[in-house]
Structure formats: structure tokens, C-alpha cells
Symmetry: C2
Subunit: 118 residues, 2 copies
DNA sequence: CTGTATCCGCACCGATACTG
DNA sequence: CAGTATCGGTGCGGATACAG
């Protein structure tokens, strides 16, 4: 069954479109996992994020966080103490996005085994 | 505001998990666009897909379609005529997935400009 | 029209070492 | 604890040519 409306005119997804860039950021290798991890608790520290997005390297976590932060999806709060303490959390906009990512991830978790079995 | 349940135990997304593979397939550079394009019409031909996922190369379209087909998300029907005529469409499972992708893409289209402005 | 085959650059990414 | 800096390999992905 087909849905009613089209997302884009003529059903064409333009190449030189801002949405492409954002889509790439969000669906980057670690973007989804970081956003979802943050959607499960109020705040998360760097080391906790590393634990939860299992397999992510320091470099890629830093890069992913920088992109998501510059996109206004994640906010970074550094507490000036020793040892350093930095909290990451979702912005309002990030929460909105994560709310859409959750059903997707949930479906994937439910169907992954079946899918790879075939 | 935080959601009620956790997607995964302890909030940890395991590295060696089938969902990782499926997530990578779906969020691959062209996976989302192909699935969404197919979600807008009953069937699409190869050349139409190339048009709609603007910027995709033949190689990447072929690769993307093969992966999505082997995952049981897309079905390929070749009509034995000359010139060749091949129809791609979403499977039942693919429709389910695309239904979750649509709100996501819709949100991205709505917010992309704002996001990149900041 | 619907692909496959091949080459190859470059950006992504992991590993390692280092710093405030 | 929370990163940055740098190096180097690899595989993604674009371009091109070719085929059924």
C-alpha cells in the first residue's frame, strides 16, 4: 500500500540539497548510535559514550560528536574540574530526531536476524 | 523528556550484533534514498531509480540494490523483452522499513536548512 | 535499457603516541 | 578523564569502458 504524499517534488532527491548533508551526518557510521545512546539517558560522559557505542574509536567518536554538536543536535558541557568532566546530551532538536530514530532502530533490532538469515 | 524503555540491555550497542550489519546496509550512502524512492511509487525501473537518487553512480546503485535485495527489502523483476525491462519494488518487509524512514526523511527535509545555518 | 568489469584516487578510519 | 596529532592502509566510491 502506498502512502499519500511525496516527500520531494517528482520523487527526485536532489544532489545539491542541504538534506543530503544532514542525512549523511545522521546516518554516518556512528551518528545513529551516538544519538540513540544519548536518547536513553539525560546525559552521558565521553567514556560512557565510548562504552555504549561499542567499537567506536576515540577519533571517530570525537569527529562524530563535533559534527552532531555543530549541527545543533548534541550539546557539550565541560565542567572545569580535575580530572576533567564533560557531559553530552541531546538538544531539543536532537531529541526530536532521536524520537524518529528509535522506532527505526527498534525495528532493525527486531528484524536483523531474520534479514541476515535469508 | 526521556522515553520509557531502553532499546538494548544496559544501553550498550554491541559491536558483533546482526543489527549493526543491517543498520549499515540501511544507512549506507544510497540505501535510504533508494528505499524512499521506491516507497513513493509501486515500482521503479533502473533508469528511474538513477534519476531519482540524484548523483548515484551505476556501480553504487547496482551494489545498493544487490544488498537490499539480498536483505529481502527490495524485489527485482526482470521482464524478458528487448530492450530489457526491470522493475524494482519494496517487499512487505521493505515497506515496513520505509514507513519508518519516511518520517525521518521528512524531518530532515524540514530542518536541514536551519541545521546547516548554525 | 540494464547492467558488469576494471582501474584507481582519496577520504575514511583505526592504531598509536602524546597532552592538558 | 577527555581529548588532540599524526601516520598509514584499505576499501569506498566515481569514472570509464564494455556487454547482453
Amino acid at each position: 500500500m502506498k502512502v499519500s504524499g511525496s516527500l520531494v517534488p517528482d520523487g527526485v532527491f536532489p544532489a545539491n540539497c542541504p538534506s543530503r548533508t544532514v542525512l549523511d551526518h545522521v546516518t554516518s557510521k556512528w551518528g545513529v548510535l551516538v544519538l540513540l545512546a544519548l536518547s536513553e539517558t539525560e546525559t552521558l560522559r565521553w567514556s560512557e559514550l565510548r562504552r555504549r557505542a561499542e567499537g567506536v574509536s576515540e577519533k571517530m567518536l570525537a569527529q562524530t560528536l563535533r559534527v552532531l554538536e555543530s549541527d545543533g543536535l548534541v550539546s557539550r558541557v565541560a565542567h572545569p574540574v580535575v580530572p576533567p568532566h564533560v557531559d553530552y546530551s541531546l538538544t531539543k532538536r536532537g531529541e526530536e530526531l532521536a524520537a524518529l530514530l528509535r522506532p527505526l532502530m527498534s525495528w532493525i533490532l527486531d528484524n536483523a536476524e531474520d534479514i541476515l538469515a535469508s
